[in-house]
Subunit: 377 residues, 2 copies
């Protein structure tokens, strides 16, 4: 019996952060990354071949799809590609990511190729950022912060009409949609793509993922959450501030102070070696001691602090490590995580404050320099 | 023995056009669509629940993830979710899309739930657009065409320096990057996201997927391919024009005329009932008769016309039906397809002209109204 030969394989249609990480290259079309014999390879269509040769990471071999397809009958279905690939590189046992397409795996298995889905992350090392990655994320967060200042200034420079709504200099109402469009257009001008930017005021802000719509109110917290991705390298920024035009109501002010304290408490605790769960708990306990609930379901709808405190940010906007009750692992040095306590209540709206920080051996480096202040005049 | 009950199931992490089509809703987080007992459902996280109730298509039931998770032990891995879901809705036999995550399928199978990957499209009916979909794509293409006019005007209003390069009014060189950023920013202002917009001049245009970089040349074709997606509804526009600042060289002019004729020839042939392959062939034969090659690999690098003539456009930028040699099926009425012949040659660059059209019983409706002219003064 011949010796079994193992490899690692990713297939993706369009952008895939694991392939970008492993191969340094992203294609618009379907494409493939594999490791065999200790070497990394990407397989791309003829349309992408020249660009892939240019852009692939050092040590990555670029293969044109046709080179593998030539071994197949002319009218073979495209899913036979992976059987051909296995023969091409002499591998009969692949490890693949959890999200590997089922149809491909079934055909490979039917042809005697073993396929095992990775139970965890395909590249667990993505949780620890290299100096080059840190530089890219730091820059992404600077761009995000510039956009946040633009939002703050739009709210600050608005006037207030007799209905208590914000008004632009040209007399139009200042809406969530207008702020979102202007901010996302400005980010695009800097080659960053932002979608679903949250500009949510009043009761809308009490649903953490509500994007916000319609005219923005004065005297109510407006949650502004901006998370753009670099078109050039795929790394994300992520930042949230909450602004109130003019004086805020006492309930909102109290919540804001509690969220700010929770952020400070979590950041004081943050360093390599502490668990994600304990940092989350630190923020939760801080808000509980201020009298806020940290429950997931009370009286039907969630209220208080009911999401994770933070998440890793890199080539995915949500990645490892998590600052959440489920993460009992110590945080590694040079993880990059969001720290984003929030409080939500339909009675007064929502507050969230989010920084993006690098975990260091003795604490953290905060990529955000912008102050946390609710009221803008 | 109890009766086996079948259903259809999609799982996606982030945006998924099949779920958007089936459920009318897209989430930023991991989420699920399923059909059981003839009814459509989506399963979303607590953070998305309120928005999903608002936005889901008529007849779609929205289920909060926690409702299904409650039947699991507290520390069960998240992939057990699909076993719990199967019990929750009494299904023991799922049909899933080809791209269904392998890890989930393996756990379901190990727990006695059958999972079969669909061999074709999960929603083959997506190839035929409803009146509401047509309206959305028509609008997307109008926005795309506005952006194309903006590109044309930037090239037209540029001056030419002594090195034959385009120069902006402020004296800076007009670069691919600048045009891309300005166009994508303007599209974002209209709530459309464009990435990888192609603004490729000179020899760069001879690689169909090259995005273009650096200063743009006068007297050479500049391929401009813009394909934005609506942030609001997920439908795409797609359009290509090729411009030349000033007089073009004879070889490029000849190629341009040939591509324009191929487009006209393909459009004349296009109607419901003809095959995608025959429309492709019509364009290919037209360019061949003008003396151009239509081969995939000659002298090492591809040259001439070596991609498909077109593709369906809807919630995906590339979907069914294809105008390509592989598509022997008759085109259905109300398919929306791109028609994009092109010629590429490192000797003089590249030319591509792309319209987006709706297939009708007697011909087509062209969503593009912009003329096809190479030279802009």
């Amino acid at each position: 019996m011949e010796k079994s030969v193992g490899g690692r394989l990713i297939a993706a249609s369009g952008s895939c952060s694991d392939i970008l990480y492993g191969g340094g290259f992203n294609a618009a079309d379907e494409f493939v990354y594999f490791e065999a014999d200790g070497k990394r390879h990407i397989v791309v269509s003829v349309l992408e071949f020249a660009r892939a040769l240019d852009e692939a990471a050092e040590g990555v071999t670029v293969i044109e799809r046709g080179e593998i397809l030539r071994s197949l009958p002319k009218d073979a279905p495209c899913r036979d590609f992976f059987v051909a690939l296995s023969r091409y590189c002499g591998v009969d046992r692949w490890t693949v990511p959890a999200h590997f397409p089922l149809a491909y795996a079934d055909v490979m298995r039917a042809n005697g190729v073993a396929v095992t889905a990775e139970s965890g992350d395909f590249f667990p090392e993505r949780a620890v950022k290299s100096p080059a990655e840190i530089e890219k994320i730091r820059f992404a967060e600077q761009v995000t912060e510039d956009a946040m200042r633009m939002v703050r200034d739009m709210i600050r420079s608005a006037s207030v009409n007799s209905h208590g709504m914000l008004v632009r200099k040209n007399g139009d109402l200042l809406t969530s949609e207008f702020v979102r469009r202007e901010v996302e257009a400005e980010l695009k001008r800097r080659s960053f793509t932002a979608d679903r930017t949250i500009i949510a005021g009043g009761v809308q802000a009490s649903a953490p993922h509500c994007g916000g719509e319609g005219p923005l109110p004065a005297g109510k917290p407006i949650v502004c959450d901006i998370f753009p991705r670099s078109d050039e390298n795929g790394y994300w920024g992520d930042m949230t501030r909450t602004f109130c035009k003019g004086r805020a109501e006492p309930a909102a002010l109290k919540a804001f102070e509690s969220v700010r304290r929770a952020s400070e408490c979590a950041l004081r605790m943050l360093r390599a070696g502490v668990t994600g769960a304990s940092v989350h708990r630190c923020a939760a306990v801080s808000m509980e001691s201020d009298g806020f609930r940290t429950c997931k379901n009370a009286d039907g709808l969630p209220c208080g602090f009911f999401h994770g405190l933070g998440h890793g940010v890199g080539l995915d906007i949500h990645e490892q490590p998590r600052l959440a009750p489920s993460n009992a692992e110590p945080l590694p040095e040079n993880a990059v995580v969001s720290v984003e306590p929030g409080l939500y209540d339909p009675a007064w709206g929502g507050i969230r404050l989010e920084d993006l920080v690098r975990v260091t051996s003795g604490g953290y480096e905060n990529f955000c320099t912008m102050e946390k202040e609710l009221e803008v005049e």
